[in-house]
């Protein structure tokens, strides 16, 4: 397999995962903006949505006034913003297109038909009702693509590059959402109580499609401590940091075995995964939650860099 092919597979699944994550974040933002709020309207919430999507600075650089419509347009349709849903779907499709031969027909059709349908949408014609539907559709399409991949792709090197793209992106996304809202996860926060907190916690869970999973798992009301544990350390939660690492490390190991390489990526990936397995929430809180998430983001990015170096991505 060509190094470029590996790189394209990695970025294809990364962008598809990112499109889904942005769709979910935008949905949450959209939902909040429909909820009346006496303490300052929706502005602050869109700001934190943009921050969770990692593009608050990019938005600010446009110099446009923050409004629900502008934030959504930016997150969903902006052609020049590299993490808009539009840009992600196009990048996923172009990466897939450049390695057509490494994809199954099912994967390619899922990727291609998604982009074709999305590109045909006129942003001006998408009202609030249609927007909710569109964002649902993006998530469904991402699910379909992933299903096609899991159901049809040969378990060779290509599959593992796809897995790495998906889970490195997902871990990055979860860590960013938590980083933006880390303060509401601190135990001290619970003591303050109130409607506002419930709302914040609910928002975090929704951003990770984890509301009913949380309720089912803990059979309890939302508490910041269990919430932090659920989203960072629980191996059962498919968007938790731990869960992602549990998929990243074995794919790195398989690649190392198949190719006889992986000298840089395997050690950093396995170290991160084993640290996550033994991590203790109290230790994390003692050392500082925000610092911990920042370090996690750095280590996750280092795994991606080492993978690119090991497998000649460019």
């Amino acid at each position: 397999m060509l190094g470029r092919t590996a790189s394209s597979l990695f970025w294809m699944t990364r962008y598809m995962e990112r499109a889904e994550n942005i769709a979910r974040l935008t949905q949450v933002g959209h939902r909040i903006s429909m909820t009346p709020d006496s303490t300052g309207g929706y502005r602050e919430d869109w700001k934190s949505t943009l921050a969770s999507a990692g593009c608050l600075d990019a938005f600010a650089a446009r110099g446009t006034t923050l409004s629900a419509a502008e934030a959504q347009r930016f997150l969903v349709f902006d052609r020049d913003h590299p993490s808009s849903i539009r840009a992600c779907l196009e990048a996923a499709r172009n990466n897939g297109r450049s390695v057509r031969t490494a994809l199954t027909r099912e994967m390619w059709e899922a990727l291609n038909s998604t982009w074709i349908a999305f590109a045909a949408i006129d942003p001006a014609g998408v009202g609030p009702g249609a927007m909710a539907e569109l964002l649902d559709w993006v998530r469904q399409r991402s699910g379909q693509f992933r299903g096609a991949m899991l159901g049809s792709l040969l378990r060779d090197e290509g599959f593992h590059f796809c897995q790495l793209g998906t889970f490195i992106e997902r871990a990055d996304n979860t860590a960013r959402i938590l980083e933006v809202k880390y303060n509401v996860l601190l135990p001290a926060y619970e003591a303050m109580g109130g409607e506002r907190d419930l709302h914040q916690w609910d928002t975090i869970l929704r951003s990770l499609s984890a509301v009913s999973a949380y309720r089912y798992f803990y059979r309890d009301r939302i508490r910041p401590r269990t919430l932090a544990e659920f989203l960072m350390l629980r191996p059962e939660m498919p968007r938790s940091l731990r869960f992602c690492c549990d998929f990243i490390a074995p794919s790195l190991a398989s690649l190392a075995t198949m190719t006889g390489g992986g000298t840089q990526s395997l050690p950093v990936g396995e170290a991160l995964a084993s640290d996550m397995r033994v991590a203790d929430l109290d230790d994390i809180l003692r050392g500082g939650l925000r610092e911990y998430l920042g370090e996690f983001l750095n280590r996750n990015a280092a795994v991606a860099q080492a993978t690119a170096a090991d497998y000649h991505f460019d």
Binding site: M1, L2, G3, R4, T5, A6, N94, R97, S98, V99, R100, T101, R105, W108, E109, N112, S113, I116, E157, L255, T259, G260, G261, Y311, H312, D314
Partner: protein, 482 residues
């Protein structure tokens, strides 16, 4: 859907129809298809057409249209009615094509060596040595098996029962073969009952034959199974779909220039395991771009040093650089002489009469008969930069005459051929539409011609331009077995 009377009067001018005789009875190869057409309803056909379009769009079988900003990927319209070629007709075409490609490869070998054909006075020296398509860097080099053009698409038009003419020999990087293959797949999916009623020669072996052909021309020093790769300019190239499709079907890597490097006397591709050797490169980029050290220095698509490696016999390029001299439109007029010179036989396939504007007498004839002729640029392609006399306005002819006078050697002219027509679906039912045919030929250890080809069809009534960039479509092409 098909109305005999309306169909027969559907042709704007007199020409040969491949389905119906003048007495409105179907020609032998079309009998079964004709009966089938009579039974079809417009709504049934519309449904199948929509299904076919959806298949192509989903598979990403699109092409890029240069200069079309609003949508850079478009579907080539696909017409559902197959074109049928009888077994005997095909045998004739096959013999003619094989003779022609053997002669053209011999011609290439000769002009890049002793130029016997020039010495013999059969073609002017300047036509070869003064031609932009002639590549002096190829002089004296012997490609494996002496083959220069391995993959060829010979454009053929028909004007009567026996009247087949070669319009163009595409010896550089002909495209379209993926449409031949996907059109067939789509037709078999949509109309299995029609395949049960006909004995259609299969085309799906093409990728396997292509791989065999490419492996058969590996460098002499290559041991073991030669590694083949397809070199593409990338996803923005109009034929990218085809490059990916062929690599996939052959089970070989699809590479870009940046994936390759020349080192230690070999060509390597960068893989996740380090470098891997490439023996045969099926390159789908033009000569000028293959190697920035030897040709255009601004090329980002090629591989520095690739041509030197090729000349050292360490890698095979298919097609060889410099084959453009043999499909040059000015050389075209001499192909019948070329066939005779190298094979000692009369050409089986005819050429279209061609006037060279570089010749003062012929130019005078062209300038006074513009309204009857088709004028083409010598190096043009894709139906751009041409004048179709009978369809032109007075002003267009005046403009074109000025261009010819300014640069006569850049133009040739041919009589406007009454291209044959085949049935195609149109808004009002089934109507005759002009077609051409591009069979695909492979030359390696032997010559292989897949029974079929790409039929291009001018979907506008009366139009003679079949190019996809100008509103043409494609059809599945059925060669019947006896």
């Amino acid at each position: 859907m098909l109305k005999k009377q309306a169909y027969s009067t559907g042709n704007a001018t007199v020409c040969f129809d491949e389905m119906l005789n003048e007495d409105h009875t179907p020609r032998a190869p079309y009998r079964t298809l004709f009966d089938w057409l009579l039974r079809q309803t417009p709504s049934g056909i519309r449904a199948k057409q929509a299904e076919a379009d959806a298949i192509f769009r989903r598979l990403g079988i699109t092409f890029a249209v240069y200069g079309s900003a609003e949508s850079n990927e478009r579907l080539i319209p696909f017409d559902l009615i197959p074109r049928v070629i009888a077994a005997a007709e095909w045998r004739f075409l096959e013999r003619g094509i094989e003779q022609r490609v053997r002669a053209l490869n011999a011609f290439l070998h000769d002009i890049y060596h002793r130029q016997e054909i020039v010495r013999a006075g059969r073609i002017p020296s300047d036509l070869v040595n003064g031609n932009d398509a002639f590549l002096p860097q190829m002089m004296g080099f012997d490609p494996p098996r002496g083959v220069y053009s391995h993959i060829i698409g010979t454009d053929i038009v028909r004007t009567s029962e026996d009247g087949f003419f070669v319009l163009e020999d595409n010896l550089r990087t002909p495209s379209g073969v993926s449409y031949m293959l996907e059109n067939r797949e789509t037709m078999m999916h949509l109309f299995p009952e029609m395949f049960a009623a006909h004995r259609v020669a299969p085309v799906e072996r093409y990728p396997e034959l292509l791989r065999q052909t490419l492996q058969s021309v590996a460098p002499a020093g290559c041991d073991g199974d030669p590694t083949v790769a397809v070199l593409t300019p990338g996803i923005y190239n109009s034929a990218y779909f085809e490059h990916a499709f062929l690599a996939d079907q052959m089970g070989v890597e699809l590479v870009q220039g940046a994936d390759l490097e020349v080192a230690d006397g070999a060509l390597w591709m960068r893989t996740i395991r380090g470098r891997a050797r490439v023996d045969v490169l099926y390159r789908r980029i033009d000569d000028a771009f293959i190697d920035p050290l030897n040709f255009r220095p601004d090329s980002m698509l090629g591989v520095p040093g690739l041509f030197d490696l090729y000349r050292a016999g360490r890698v095979t390029l298919a097609n060889a650089p410099g084959t453009g001299i043999a499909d040059d439109k000015a050389v075209y007029a001499y192909v019948p002489d070329i066939v005779e010179f190298y094979t000692g036989e009369k050409p089986i396939l005819k050429n279209v009469a061609t006037f060279r504007c570089s010749n003062p007498e012929e130019r005078a004839h062209v300038l006074t008969h513009l309204e009857e002729l088709v004028v083409k640029e010598v190096h043009g392609s894709g139906g751009y930069g041409m004048l179709i006399g009978p369809r032109s306005t007075r002003q267009q002819r005046i403009d074109f005459a000025a261009r010819i006078r300014a640069n006569p050697s850049n133009y040739i002219a041919q009589p406007t051929l009454a291209l044959s027509t085949c049935p195609a679906f149109a808004a009002g039912g089934v109507g005759p539409r002009h077609v051409d045919l591009r069979p695909f030929v492979l030359v390696g250890d032997r010559v292989r011609v897949v029974p079929g080809g790409l039929t291009r069809v001018a979907l506008k009534r009366g139009s003679l331009v079949v190019n996809s960039s100008q509103g043409g479509g494609t059809k599945d092409t059925w060669v019947l077995e006896d």
